[in-house]
């Protein structure tokens, strides 16, 4: 089996599983499960945005949640002011993208190194968190939408079918929309990464100086990658605001940023399916550990229900023991097993012939 065949089978598998998930889940699962799955899927889009920016672009962004939150807030505020969802949806993508472009211009054209990039993006997230958190008073409003500060914005109107205010998307529709968006994002990114642009950004990740000497401008490519990532995160934020009909400043918070990083680390940098798996797996795990437990139980259950505790342990363990992440490690294991088998068959030694070039 050559590499191209493996790639093709992988893509087909993702497509089949994805479409099956999309069609079958609402038919067989209860509504609350569907609701739960919807948020997993929305977060998976967010995970993909960082998978692109960090895993392929090599840009260590600790503040992906800034764009996510900005998307959610933009949608909420625009929705209260406009009332028809097409404009707010587009704004929720455009504004985070513009913000990412501005920030990226600042960072990449300033030639700020990797580590400082992490710190700056983290700082920006904290600035947003602090500022939005302190806007609780009635004097803070944009149009008719009050910002609400630490109370958040409740009762955000849902998306509607473009152009028709009277036809809002219901809960099941939201699931279809989110899952279809995830699939579209996945295949769109695969396409992007297979294109010239995708190859160049991976080249820059591997060796920036060399790419530059070959005539590519790493700053421009990084800026483009970062902007696309911002747009995707904003889109996920818009869906998230829809899902709960509520946003609060905690989506700018450090815990949220950390989570996104953890999904990508656990799943594996440099893959797209990995972060999706990591995102859904970790969310499922934290829900399973935290949910359904009577209050006042022993300290051990309290500790296990404590999301930061678990997430922290997972992060440390993966950095130390599985630094490449699950999917690449499993893939390596698979390759190794295949090779082992090939070697066992080898003893029927035939003379090797040099390949003709």
């Amino acid at each position: 089996m050559n590499d191209r065949a493996v790639t093709f089978i992988g893509l087909a598998l993702v497509g089949i599983v994805g479409v099956a998930f999309l069609i079958l889940t609402p038919r067989f699962a209860e509504l609350d499960v569907v609701l739960e799955l919807t948020v997993y899927v929305i977060m998976a889009i967010l995970a993909l945005s960082l998978a692109l920016v960090w895993g392929y672009g090599g840009i260590l962004c600790f503040g992906q949640s800034a764009f996510f939150g900005l998307g959610a807030y933009t949608y909420a505020i625009a929705m209260f002011n406009i009332g028809e969802s097409t404009g707010p949806l587009l704004l929720a993508i455009a504004l985070p993208a513009a913000f990412a472009a501005l920030l990226g211009y600042f960072m990449f054209y300033g030639r700020i190194s990797d580590v400082y990039l992490g710190v700056i993006t983290l700082t920006v997230t904290l600035i947003l968190f602090n500022s939005v958190n302190s806007t609780a008073g009635p004097e803070f409003h944009i149009g008719v939408a009050r910002l609400g500060g630490f109370n958040g914005i409740p009762g955000i109107p849902p998306l509607n079918i473009p152009g028709n205010k009277a036809a809002p998307v219901d809960l099941e529709g939201m699931f279809y929309l989110a899952t279809a968006s995830l699939l579209a994002t996945y295949f769109g990114l695969r396409l992007l990464l297979a294109s010239r642009f995708g190859r160049v950004i991976v080249g820059i990740r591997e060796n920036e100086r060399r790419a530059e000497l070959l005539g590519y401008d790493p700053r421009a490519y990084k800026l483009a990658t970062f902007t696309i990532g911002g747009a995707l995160a904003g889109f996920a934020g818009c869906l998230f605001a829809n899902w709960g009909a509520f946003v609060s400043p905690t989506i700018f918070g450090l815990a949220q940023s950390a989570q996104i990083i953890i999904w990508v680390i656990v799943g594996g940098r440099g893959t797209l399916i990995g972060p999706i798996v990591g995102c859904i797996g970790i969310q499922w795990l934290t829900t399973a550990l935290g949910a359904n437990q009577p209050s006042g139980t022993g300290w051990l259950t309290n500790l296990l229900a404590n999301a930061p505790f678990i997430l922290g342990m997972i992060l440390v363990a993966f950095v130390l023991l599985v630094p490449k992440g699950l999917v690449p490690t499993l893939a390596e294991l698979g390759h190794w097993l295949l090779r082992l088998r090939a070697r066992r068959e080898a003893p029927g030694l035939k003379p090797k012939q040099a390949k003709e070039v």
Partner: protein, 290 residues
């Protein structure tokens, strides 16, 4: 604007600078000497606060609790962290960042489970006195004093003692130091422990001002990071100059508007500074400083 107000403002600015220097200096030691970015720094400060509070509630004098118990406890925790996590990751800067971030979440979770998600406080010792129409806490001066003593102490240790010499030598060239009979892993462990102890001290000294709760580290970590990075490679002159700059901006913006906006002004100023001077202040000025 009268004289009293100017004096008050000056003291407040000085206090802002001192507290910024205090919370950053532990990180500066760890980052400046070992090139390890410790994202669990805020949690070290938080642990220092808890150590002091738990010790005082067990009848230890508040001064002993703040100045001895807290640095000791957090220093020991620092050594344990270095031995179990950090030492596997030297030279892998991004992985250290991620692992310490994990550690930070872990510690937040652990303290929440133990102490609960509430703010505990100790009342500040030393009363207050008046400057004209204004009233100012004596504790403000204590914080400034501690900052000065800590910075002077680091200078003396680094310049004057054998330990400081070994530490500086190991950081400059670990292989050469090892060839001359120094044990680099031990120096690393001690340096990390000292950095953690300084963080513990800062957390304890600031605990009466801010109270302590499990997620307080978040409030500290960004500020101390931008101070250290804004300061650049030189530990002391970097920390002092960056604290002076950011502390002044923070305090004046706070006076002019609200504390939250003061914070935002500080962070925004830091981003502009890093854009202008990617190597930090000491990358351009005071290069020969320590």
């Amino acid at each position: 604007m009268n004289v009293d107000f100017v004096v008050l403002l000056a003291i407040q600015v000085l206090y802002a600078i001192a507290s910024l220097a205090l919370i950053s200096v532990g990180l500066a030691v760890i980052f400046g000497m070992m090139r390890v970015i410790n994202l669990a720094h805020g949690e070290f400060l938080m642990l220092g606060g808890y150590a002091a509070i738990v010790a005082t509630s067990h009848g230890v004098s508040i001064w002993v609790a703040m100045l001895v118990v807290a640095p000791l406890v957090v220093g020991i925790i620092g050594v344990i962290v270095e031995r179990t996590i950090i030492r596997f990751l030297y030279g892998r800067m991004i992985d250290t960042m991620l692992a310490t971030w994990g550690l930070s979440l872990f510690l937040v979770g652990l303290t929440t489970a133990i102490f609960g998600n509430t703010t505990v406080g100790i009342s500040a010792p030393l009363g207050s006195f008046e400057i004209g129409a204004y009233r100012i806490s004596g504790y403000t001066f204590f914080v400034i004093l501690v900052a000065v003593v800590v910075l002077a102490g680091i200078y003396l240790v680094m310049r004057g003692t054998r330990l400081g010499l070994l530490a500086r030598g190991t950081m400059q060239n670990a292989n050469m130091a090892a060839a001359l009979g120094v044990n680099p892993p031990r120096v690393y462990a001690i340096t990390f422990g000292v950095g953690a102890a300084l963080s513990g001290l800062a957390g304890a000294v600031l605990a009466p001002v801010s109270g302590v709760f499990p997620t307080i580290g978040v409030a500290y970590v960004a500020k101390s990071f931008i101070t250290v990075i804004g300061g650049g490679a030189a530990i002391l002159s970097g920390t002092v100059s960056a604290s002076a700059l950011f502390g002044t901006i923070n305090q004046i913006a706070t006076f002019a508007t609200t504390p939250v906006f003061g914070e935002v002004a500080l962070l925004a100023a830091a981003i502009v500074l890093i854009r202008l001077l990617p190597q930090g202040i000491t990358g351009r000025f005071f290069r020969r400083g320590l």
